[in-house]
């Protein structure tokens, strides 16, 4: 996903001379083509996130569209005040490309796991937050948001994810995607690469005679969220699946929606990460399994909800 994203930024730079790339210190050879073709718009400028975010704001205020890529925690935590003041408060078109969303870097320990990034960034007014499920969707988001005046935070997956979304257009690139089954007994709401696990769980359950619908949010800050939920949350059992703490993520958004808008009785369940420092190490998929976010655990959770086990 990251590879495709950076390739896309290069393609965008070819047609738009305001596109600028900023990286912190993200690996030798990254963006070599960009560097060669547009040296005056390429900045691989070291491990100095506080500076880099302000630097991006200075470029954006003066007409450029900076795409800044580094590890998500260093954007959302290390340089949070710069994100909030320099970019958010000035409502500048800076694109923050956050590598390693969720548990991608679980092996590196809690300094590198971005499990509260959505909570942090969603509390910065003006920001739009995108959570693509695969490289195709990522590409579509980058292309279709190029001229969006807002600041943007995009959460990257690990890379190599199976393509599960369709090609999207300028009209629907950020619209929640519904993967429905007839007579579904439950709706899963999710985003990012966990969509794949949810779709696998959907198939497993289908084979056992249980129908569920899965809804994926490519944009957590989808502007017509309430209208969409009004129309589509038709079941009385909802399960939120996310690679994030419960506080400040999709679980919070949906719970608040129900509290403020729905009068019908509904049960909201969650498969989020527990609010602890995650020190299990190992791979992302091992951690998914441990924390109940792999397809098997999700299917099991759905069964326990439906059968009220």
């Amino acid at each position: 996903m990251r590879k495709r994203a950076l390739e896309t930024v290069y393609q965008l730079a070819k047609t738009n001379n305001k596109v600028v790339f900023i990286g912190s210190d993200i690996g030798a050879g990254t963006m070599d083509e960009f560097k060669k073709d547009f040296p005056d718009r390429f900045f691989m400028d070291g491990i100095s996130e506080q500076h880099l975010i302000g630097f991006a704001a200075g470029l954006a205020k003066n007409g450029f569209i900076p795409f800044l890529n580094t590890i998500g925690t260093f954007i959302s935590r290390r340089a949070y005040e710069q994100v909030l003041i320099d970019v958010g408060m000035h409502n500048l078109p800076v694109r923050l490309l956050a590598s390693g969303g969720g548990l991608v870097y679980a092996n590196l320990g809690p300094t590198h796991t971005a499990v509260e990034d959505i909570a942090l960034i969603s509390n910065v007014p003006n920001f739009r937050i995108f959570t693509p499920a695969d490289a195709l969707e990522m590409q579509s988001i980058l292309i279709n948001t190029l001229t969006l005046p807002n600041p943007i935070y995009i959460r990257f997956g690990k890379g190599g994810e199976k393509i599960v979304t369709d090609v999207t257009t300028e009209i629907n690139y950020n619209v929640p995607k519904i993967f429905s089954k007839i007579n579904a007994q439950l709706i899963i709401l999710t985003y990012g690469v966990l969509l794949q696990n949810c779709l696998e769980a959907q198939e497993t359950l289908f084979n056992s005679g249980i129908n569920i619908t899965v809804i994926h949010f490519p944009e957590i800050t989808y502007p017509s969220m309430n209208d969409f939920l009004n129309k589509n949350l038709t079941k009385s059992k909802i399960l939120i699946v996310e690679e994030h703490y419960p506080e400040g993520g999709l679980y919070t958004i949906i719970s608040r929606y129900y509290f403020e808008n729905k009068t019908s009785i509904v049960r909201i369940y969650q498969s989020c990460l527990p609010k602890i420092f995650l020190v299990k190490h190992g791979s992302q998929s091992e951690n998914w399994k441990y924390f109940g976010l792999d397809s098997y655990s999700i299917a099991e959770k759905v069964q326990s909800i439906i059968y009220e086990l």
Partner: protein, 274 residues
Amino acid sequence: MNYIKLARKIHLDESSIIRRDLILNSIKKSGRGHLTPAFSIVEIIQVVYEIIGNDAKSHNILKDKFILSKGHGCLALYVELFLNGYFEKNHLDDFCTFGSMLGGHPECGETPGIEFSTGSLGHGLPYAVGAAMANKINLSNKKIFVLLGDGELNEGSNWESFLHASKHKLDNLIIIIDYNKFQAGGLISEVLPLEPIISKLASFGIEVQQVNGHNKLEMRKKLNRFKPNGYPKALLAHTIKGKGIDIIENNPSWHHKSKIETYEIDELVGKLHS
């Protein structure tokens, strides 16, 4: 040259007195503000605005830009903007009151003429480096002036930015440091010493000039001496915190006050003119 002595000795001319008078009168209604951090930078801001020709009419065209990174010194900037026709005097009088467009720190988009919102320290310079880089990419020879406090240099982000400005040879970036030797908690030399500041900046690849920050003629000369030679510039302006009124000069209790009575302000105005 003993710049501190020179900064202390220099007499303020009429335009400097007028600016301080306006600052004092603008805090009457709210009874609050950062007086002494504004008084130390009055002449610096006056000179910068003379150079960049930043009057209200030219605001939207490509031009030199000024960023007040030590945002708490905003009273000096507001007065300069008023004198340059950005807004009417009634806005100065409403400083920091409810609904006023002039807050306790500069806000871009709320107050005409503010390039970048500041307040939390260490944000202005990274932004200024980005703005200077934008001019370089656009092959524009316009300059970016950014004014930092000496206490503000406690913030590590500035030192990241020094590295970057030097790497990119941003000779269109002019960093002015208000070296009044005090921060909110007391003397810089006691809280977090900066010396030897000149050799520190020079070692980062920055061309440094020292100046008496209340001597406008000298500042104009020194700023004109900066040439496009591949080095970012720093003007270390030796100033007196609270310059112009002896009872508040170098007096830490006047760094910020939130309950200043009208009679106190009248007293200060009297001393300013005496």
